[in-house]
């Protein structure tokens, strides 16, 4: 562990705390608050401040401090929580998030960024009838003074000192660390053994410290016990006595705990924090087991059942347990989508203010869990979709009213698990996709042929094409040179798919379908010669055995396949990988049509389809670097290694190898 590690922990924890703070704030705003809401909010800000102080993030601490003061008044009821104050706290939390983000990136927010907020918060706290709580006065230490000779300390503990688990011997030892100490003990108050109360304090010491240390250092040693003893510290060799005031008796001890532990705590989720590397190791090992099991099953199938009666049943049980084990281990890596969903309300708040729109965000299914990596990489695409929904989807209140809709627009963000996938939906009740405009734009940009006739769905799909941007005016909000094609690519790189549905004038709905985990892939096993390759199912559109007359040779482009009036470039895997003994004639093999981002659809020529399998993805980057066209490798049930193909990469590589790329014939891209 190192300082960097601590820093990373702080930022990680602060992100969680901010998330919790936002959740409490929205509970307060929506009147869902219970007794603990304000306390939880206070603790979140308090912890961010505490850690921030340790790292010297003074600006952040300054802001958190006034927030905390206000929260303290709100929770003890000395100030009422009004909508204004909640709004102020929300803004302050936003600013705190910005300051944290800046520190994390080793940047600084503009000078004076948080000043206005601090002043506003302080004004609330100092409002009439409310005195600002000042910090605790520093422990009454007399100014540091050195003396030539040293100090005489007369120390008479009270019984309370022992009840606080302080130990005179240790204090004397600590004093000795400052210099030579001569100790004399005063036994004058020691009663006879028969009346001695073991818990009474009967001894007193005179300690002469022969070292010219500042008085403060001596006082520091006794700082915890000044209230529990008679203490006199005077310069050695002088007669002036300076007594540190001490109350004659310590306050009585509370006999029993008064705080009743809350009953909900039994229901609280117990959690363990584990290094991701350890989990990945488990995932990997389970992957190996799955492969092993597949091998055993294959061997088992070759054994006649009567030769080994229990074998088949045993293998079946093994498979079943292994599947459960695999699911269990994968579940460790999952995380609620809440961590990314919770960033969205702020975005909506800020954007609607910026765009002059009134938008309500409704979030459901935040507890849905998905692989940690997927969650992390979901933030960008979701942000982009949300920006689009607010910028292009939801209309201004005036326009909405004129269209007979409520002035306030609604954006719905939801997540749910369906089968082995997670569906994330973002829908709005805005104007929907203007298909006439989209089509006109696509024709103008040469994305589709001028005379192309497309179905509604195909037109909607056009917004995902590279080089397409719907906004007539590139606005500050959406027009950042990043289009929906990038969103689609991001989602696809996570093994997911994105689809859109829209009704003009009524709104749009984007559905993201994502795999539960990245460690396992649904793959189609294909054979080429004596080799086997895996194609990710997510990218496959269809597979077919082409008729000889559908295969055409195009100069400079190699072979293309004509299918339902469209032309798709053919890519022979045996040629790409130099496999001998493969089927050379496409009409005797199988063409698997796959969808890619840039190259559109591609037909992959293989010998045969072997089957669909869940395969455990093994990265090869560690050993071989990044290989274009190859996404990883896996071990098949027969123990052989098979490469997992990255179709888009493969298409690009072979494309570069071929001559210049021509635009495909009319509308080919869309079929």
């Amino acid at each position: 562990m190192s300082f960097d590690h601590l820093r990373a922990t702080y930022f990680e924890e602060s992100a969680e705390l901010l998330e919790s703070a936002y959740a409490q704030l929205s509970a307060l705003a929506e009147d869902r608050a219970d007794g603990d809401t304000m306390h939880a909010l206070f603790r979140a800000i308090h912890s961010i401040k505490g850690g921030g102080g340790a790292f010297g993030f003074t600006r952040l601490v300054g802001l958190a401090h006034v927030m905390e003061t206000l929260l303290d008044h709100l929770r003890d009821g000395s100030l009422a929580s009004t909508p204004d104050r909640m709004a102020l706290l929300l803004k302050a939390t936003d600013a705190l998030a910005d300051l944290l983000g800046a520190e994390q990136r080793d940047e600084a927010m503009p000078e004076g960024f948080e000043k206005g907020l601090i002043a506003a918060l302080a004004a609330v706290v100092e409002s009439p009838g409310r005195a600002m709580k000042t910090g605790l006065p520093a422990t009454a230490l007399t100014p540091a003074a050195t003396d030539g000779a040293g100090w005489r300390i007369i120390f008479r503990p009270h019984a309370a000192l022992f009840r606080h688990a302080n130990e005179p011997l240790l204090l004397i030892r600590a004093l000795r660390a400052l210099g030579p100490v001569s100790v004399s003990v005063d036994l004058g108050r020691l009663p006879g053994l028969e009346v001695l109360e073991p818990e009474d304090a009967c001894l007193a010491w005179t300690l002469d410290l022969a070292a010219p240390v500042p008085r403060a250092e001596v006082e520091e040693i006794f700082e915890f016990v000044v209230d529990e003893c008679d203490l006199t510290i005077e310069p050695l060799g002088r007669t002036v006595t300076e007594a540190v005031d001490a109350p004659s008796d310590a306050p009585p001890m509370a006999a029993a705990p008064t705080a009743v532990p809350r009953t909900e705590q039994a229901a609280a989720v117990q959690s363990v924090r584990v290094d991701v590397a350890k989990v990945d190791r488990l995932v990997n090992l389970v992957g190996e087991l799955v492969i092993n099991q597949a091998m055993l099953v294959q061997i088992g199938n070759a054994v006649p059942p009567e030769a080994c009666p229990g074998l088949v049943a045993g293998l079946e049980t093994l498979s079943q347990h292994l599947r459960e084990l695999q699911e269990g281990v994968m579940a460790i890596r999952t995380q609620p989508v809440k961590s990314v969903f919770s960033r969205m309300p702020r975005l909506v708040r800020e954007l609607s203010a910026q765009l002059g729109k009134d938008v309500r965000l409704v979030v459901t299914g935040e507890a849905t869990e998905i692989d940690k990596t997927v969650v992390e990489q979901l933030a960008d695409p979701l942000t982009h979709l949300l920006r689009n929904a607010l910028d292009h989807g939801v209309e201004t209140p005036e326009v909405r009213e004129a269209a007979g809709k409520p002035r306030q627009g609604t954006v719905h963000l939801s997540a749910e698990q369906r089968g082995g996938r997670i569906l994330i939906e973002l829908s709005d009740d805005g104007r929907g996709i203007d298909r006439a405009r989209v089509l006109a734009r696509a024709k103008e940009r040469g994305i589709v042929a001028p005379d192309a006739v497309l179905t509604d769905n195909e037109v909607d799909e056009l917004i995902f094409m590279p080089g397409f941007s719907t906004a007539a005016v590139v606005s500050a909000v959406s027009g950042r040179g990043v289009g929906m094609d990038v969103v689609r690519r991001n989602i696809q790189s996570l093994g997911g798919r994105i689809a859109v549905e829209s009704r003009f004038g009524q709104g749009s709905r984007f559905v993201l379908s994502l795999p539960l985990t990245l460690a396992v892939l649904d793959g189609l096993v294909v054979s080429v010669g004596r080799e086997a390759y895996i194609l990710p199912i997510a990218s496959i559109v269809e597979s077919l055995r082409p008729r000889p007359q559908d295969i055409h040779d195009v100069v400079g482009r190699g072979q293309v396949l004509s299918i339902r009036g469209a032309y798709i470039p053919l890519l022979a895997l045996h040629r790409a990988f130099g496999v001998a003994d493969a089927v050379l004639d496409p009409s005797r093999g199988i063409v698997v049509i796959a969808e890619t981002d840039h190259a559109g659809r591609v037909g992959l020529l293989v010998d045969d389809l072997v089957g669909q399998h869940q395969v455990v993805v093994k990265s090869m980057e560690g050993n071989y670097g990044r290989i274009p066209g190859i996404g990883g490798a896996t071990i098949l049930g027969n123990g052989r290694v098979a490469l997992i193909l990255d179709v888009a990469g493969l298409a690009e590589t072979t494309d570069r190898g071929a001559a210049t790329r021509h635009a495909p014939p009319a509308a080919a891209v869309l079929h």
Partner: protein, 121 residues
Amino acid sequence: MAKRVMTVDDSRTMREMVSFTLRKAGFEVSEAEDGQKALSALQSRPVDVVITDLNMPVMDGVALIRALRADPKCRSLPILMLTTESDSGKKMEGKNAGATGWLVKPFDPDKLVDVVKRVAG
């Protein structure tokens, strides 16, 4: 044998900072995220010093101190409070409940080690 310290704090950052500092100084450190968890962990494995935050969910620091002092086995267990300058009221409460001493956040690592040594011996 290394002295054992337990740090009780709902903030993981603070727990890790305390652990990091004390482990470097040769202490054996365990962590708990609230008073309740600290109490149950201490049942099975006692320590030589407890360092506790005051503001925590479930069971706060003052309640933890009271509970420990009510337990005959923990009457002479040194308990340090980790407070902030704005916690003055809580600090007095903690002191009255039987805390041995306190440290102010953000703490100076050397001071933390000194203080723990001073109360743990």
